[in-house]
């Protein structure tokens, strides 16, 4: 788990560089809330607190959850999300190892449904030096201390958002790309850079054999496959594969979220199916659903299918002919 945290650092730094202190505040707040709530729950459940905190799983959950939040989101929204992640999705199911759903994604799903407005307020990405808010200002916004900025002026839709609303209003894809600052100039596309940074961390995890290759590879390939096919079919109506692969939560999700071993499929073939399933759902929801991004919902949907996938994908045991007696 500690190595997972290390692997998150490059992506986290890139996001902080583009979005400012808000990203770090989110992480500090969520990790703090996650560890506190986990400790509290362990105390109530009469489990050895230090032993279970020592596995770093609460920190990982808090960190991953934080990375999916827009910067400068009010602290209490973070708390609500973490509460659902740690208490409802994890501890009430029996704690680490017993949660059928990915806790961070449960927390995120609750927030995106309950607070769609706040969850959509992504600051304009600039370099760190040009940030509109310094440390203190950011702090005041997060804690709501008489500081209500003019959100319309300082936020900007994410690339996936821009594409979604653009296509809905009848624009065609090339037009959207031309109009969006992120999409027209790939160097200023912060999303692409952070995606690449997360991918680098993920590849390091693969190299270290912390995660198995099947889930990220299957997820990315299935998403790539569908985005290529539809983009080729109608480039005016379907976003480019590059956008799908390097925007939103694709890389973070493929390497860090979908690979959560507890809630993912565990057999080699099952992992391929599980990863590919998430890729399919991401594409479906992004293109035809109501949400611009879909990592959380796709992961949660596939979490539900895990027991069945695992049962029917048992590997062939030495000396056995068929894979499973159906």
């Amino acid at each position: 788990m500690l190595q997972v945290l290390l692997a998150l650092i490059p992506g986290t730094l890139v996001m902080t560089y583009f979005f400012g202190w808000g990203i770090l505040f989110n992480i500090v707040l969520s990790v703090f809330f996650a560890v506190s709530l986990e400790a509290l729950a362990l105390l109530i459940r009469k489990r050895p607190v230090l032993v279970f905190l020592g596995d770093f799983s609460a920190i990982v959950t808090g960190w991953l959850f934080a990375l999916s939040l827009p910067p400068l989101i009010p602290w209490w929204i973070v708390l609500v999300g973490i509460f659902f992640a740690i208490i409802i999705a994890k501890q009430l199911y029996g704690g680490l190892g017993y949660n059928p759903f990915n806790p961070a994604m449960v927390g995120f799903a609750v927030l995106i449904i309950s607070f769609p407005l706040e969850m959509g307020l992504w600051l304009k990405a600039t370099s760190f030096a040009e940030q509109s808010f310094g440390f203190i200002d950011s702090l005041r916004i997060v804690f709501g201390a008489n500081m209500s900025p003019d959100w319309d002026a300082i936020t900007m839709p994410t690339p996936l958002d821009a594409v979604k609303t653009g296509l809905l209003t009848g624009m065609d894809y090339t037009e959207i790309v031309r109009k969006s600052r992120y999409l027209s100039d790939s160097f200023s596309n912060t999303w692409m850079w952070s995606g690449l940074a997360f991918a680098a961390g993920g590849i390091w995890l693969l190299y270290k054999k912390i995660i198995h290759w099947q889930i990220p590879v299957a997820l990315l390939l299935s998403l790539l496959f569908f985005s290529v096919v539809f983009h080729l079919y109608s480039p005016q109506h379907y976003a480019s594969p590059v956008l799908h692969m390097l925007s939103g939560a694709t890389m973070l999700g493929a390497f860090f979220i979908a690979t959560d071993p507890v809630s993912a499929s565990t057999t080699p073939l099952g992992k391929l199916i599980y990863g590919a399933g998430i890729g399919v759902f991401i594409y479906i929801i992004r293109v035809w659903g109501s949400y611009p991004d879909a990592m959380a919902f796709s992961v949660l949907i596939m979490n539900m299918a895990v027991p069945m996938i695992d049962y029917y994908t048992q590997p062939r045991v030495l000396g056995h002919k068929r894979k499973v007696d159906l």
Binding site: P48, Y98, P315, L318, G319, V324
Partner: protein, 555 residues
């Protein structure tokens, strides 16, 4: 030593092997302890039956217990001469820690064979195969690799089958154990001779001796010993646990897989451990039954780790003393290796035919290779799948664990629990320190018990159903009998009546004949009455007429 194509089995691990501790010194004879405790059950199958009684004097090599002839079993011989002091229950070297019947032999120190040595077959090549098989059976040889399956049974099963490959297992993959290593280094010629006996008996196309590459001296010695043998090949295999598992070694050497639930013989392979082959040599060529074996005494809990030639039934405490006594680190006593062995509670327990190692070790060191001896707290399973990657059978240990914890044994079985060889590779890699194999053993035991209970219930039900059936049948039979009886009676009556009717009246139907019968009867009665009346008249006449010669009272 040639290079040949080798295969890989799935998974496998590299625990700390700790071989150097015990493989440096040459093996020595451990000596004759004052008392030997010889269990009657030291092989797979039925316990042997004692043929001596307390107070008997026995010679070395004398058969003191015979194989149960109803099933799979093996003879047991006196390891030395002396007096039987008791035949009683003693704690067995078994994970259960339960007692079992043992012959207690007080040695007299003379180590006297008497005339109990069997006749050596110096020229086994001209001896009937059945005779050699009988010798193996007589000598009580069992698989010395750990399973202790009676060798004669295994070999006889291969006699009428085509065996393509004879595999001699010298892998010795379990950490700490080096007795096969020393045996191969020190007695390679005898092992090769033993192999040749088996070759003569079962005539395999080829014979492969598999040895892990961490035993270069053994490989060299064995290669040298079989230099002139065309049909025996020493194959160096990579060191990976559990390469010495029978199915794993077969896969490595031949690429073939033993079908689940089947035997190596089903794919034309016979496997034998090097130590077993050595004892076949001893029995056939030397006439010595299986009364001793090489055994590793090792671990950081013992002063001078070494291999010993140990008499069957030697108490572990005697061996510990022989190896210089305990150190402060002696926290655990393990029978076997750290991966597959089991902990014993005290050191008065004897070693048996299948014992290849007594490991005295501290918990910290033991925990390096087996989390069943916890040093750290057990954490929840996070389904990381390391156990799955390590499993040499390609099972899903994490899923098995999950279902067994939920006591869903049916699901565990559908995840092929019974294929698990309990090698402990999963527990070794588990980052949460879960003693996985303990769960599998537990579940196997529960399933066995369940099946037995079900079988009992099935039999009881069958008995009950049969009882009910029998009751019903008896009732039915009684009723049928009664009905038949009744019918027969009726028939008889009718027949009788018919017969009468036939005699009385020539013609007429049933009712006529009846009426006739009545009439006839009445006539008969009438006739009788008349006859009687006439007689009475006659009598009165005669009475009134005085008789001359009768003495009349009236006179």
């Amino acid at each position: 030593m040639t290079s040949r194509k080798l295969w890989r089995f799935h998974g496998g691990v590299h625990p700390p092997f700790h071989k150097e501790e015990s493989n440096q010194l040459a093996s020595e004879f451990a000596g004759i302890p004052a008392q030997l405790v010889i269990p009657m059950q030291q092989h797979i199958g039925e316990a042997a039956e004692a043929v001596v009684k307390a107070g008997d004097k026995v010679y070395k090599g004398q058969k003191i217990a015979v194989a149960d002839h109803h099933g799979i079993s093996a003879n047991i011989h006196a390891p030395t001469s002396g007096k039987i002091s008791a035949i009683e229950e003693r704690v067995l070297p078994h994970p259960s820690g339960l007692p079992g019947l043992c012959i207690v032999l007080d040695s007299d120190g003379k180590d006297d064979w008497g005339d109990c040595k069997l006749t050596p077959y110096s020229d086994y090549q001209n001896t009937e195969v059945s005779e050699l098989l009988q010798r193996i059976r007589e000598s009580g040889i069992v698989g010395l690799g750990g399973a202790a399956f009676p060798t004669a049974v295994k070999v006889s099963g291969s006699l009428n089958k085509a065996v393509s490959t004879l595999i001699i297992n010298g892998a010795e993959c379990e950490p700490y154990i080096t007795c096969d290593d020393r045996l191969m280094r020190e007695r390679s010629a005898e092992i090769i001779e033993g192999i040749k006996i088996l070759q003569y008996m079962i005539d395999p196309q080829e014979c492969l001796i598999g040895i892990e590459d961490n035993k270069p001296e053994a490989i060299e010695a064995m290669s040298k010993a079989c230099e002139t043998e065309e049909n025996i090949e020493v194959v160096t295999i990579p060191t990976i646990y559990p390469s010495g598992g029978e199915k794993q070694l077969i896969k490595i050497l031949t690429g073939k897989e033993v079908p689940a639930g089947g035997l190596p013989l089903d794919i034309g392979i016979l496997g034998q451990n090097v130590a077993t082959v050595y004892s076949i040599y001893q029995a056939v060529v030397k006439g010595i039954p299986l009364i001793s074996r090489l055994l590793t005494v090792t671990g950081n809990g013992i002063q001078r780790p070494q291999n010993f030639e140990v008499l069957n039934g030697t108490p572990i405490s005697y061996l510990a003393e022989r190896a210089g006594g305990y150190t402060k680190m002696a926290e655990y006593l393990i029978m076997g290796g750290p991966m597959m062995g089991f902990a014993l509670r005290d050191d008065h327990i004897p070693v048996v035919k299948a014992s290849n190692c007594t490991l005295f070790v501290s918990s910290t060191v033991l925990n390096e290779s087996n989390s069943a001896y916890p040093d750290q707290p057990t954490l929840p399973c996070i389904r990381c799948g390391k156990c799955m990657d390590a499993c040499p059978l390609n099972l899903l240990p994490q899923q098995l664990y999950w279902h067994i914890r939920a006591r869903d044994f049916e699901r565990a079985e559908s995840h092929n629990l019974k294929d698990c060889i309990e090698c402990g590779a999963c527990s070794y890699v588990c980052p949460s320190h879960i003693p996985l194999v303990n769960y599998y053993r537990f579940a196997k035991g529960e399933i066995r018990e369940q099946t037995e209970t079900q079988e009992k219930a099935r039999r009881a039900r069958q008995r009950h159903e049969f009882l009910e059936f029998r009751k019903a049948r008896e009732k039915r039979e009684r009723e049928e009998k009664r009905a038949a009886h009744k019918a027969a009676l009726q028939k008889k009556k009718q027949a009788a009546a018919k017969a009468r009717a036939a005699t009385n009246g020539a013609a007429g139907d049933a009712s006529d004949s009846k009426a006739d019968a009545i009439k006839a009867a009445m006539q008969r009665v009438k006739a009788k009455k008349q006859a009687r009346a006439q007689q009475a008249k006659k009598q009165t006449k005669e009475q009134t007429k005085p008789t001359k010669d009768a003495p009349g009272i009236n006179k």
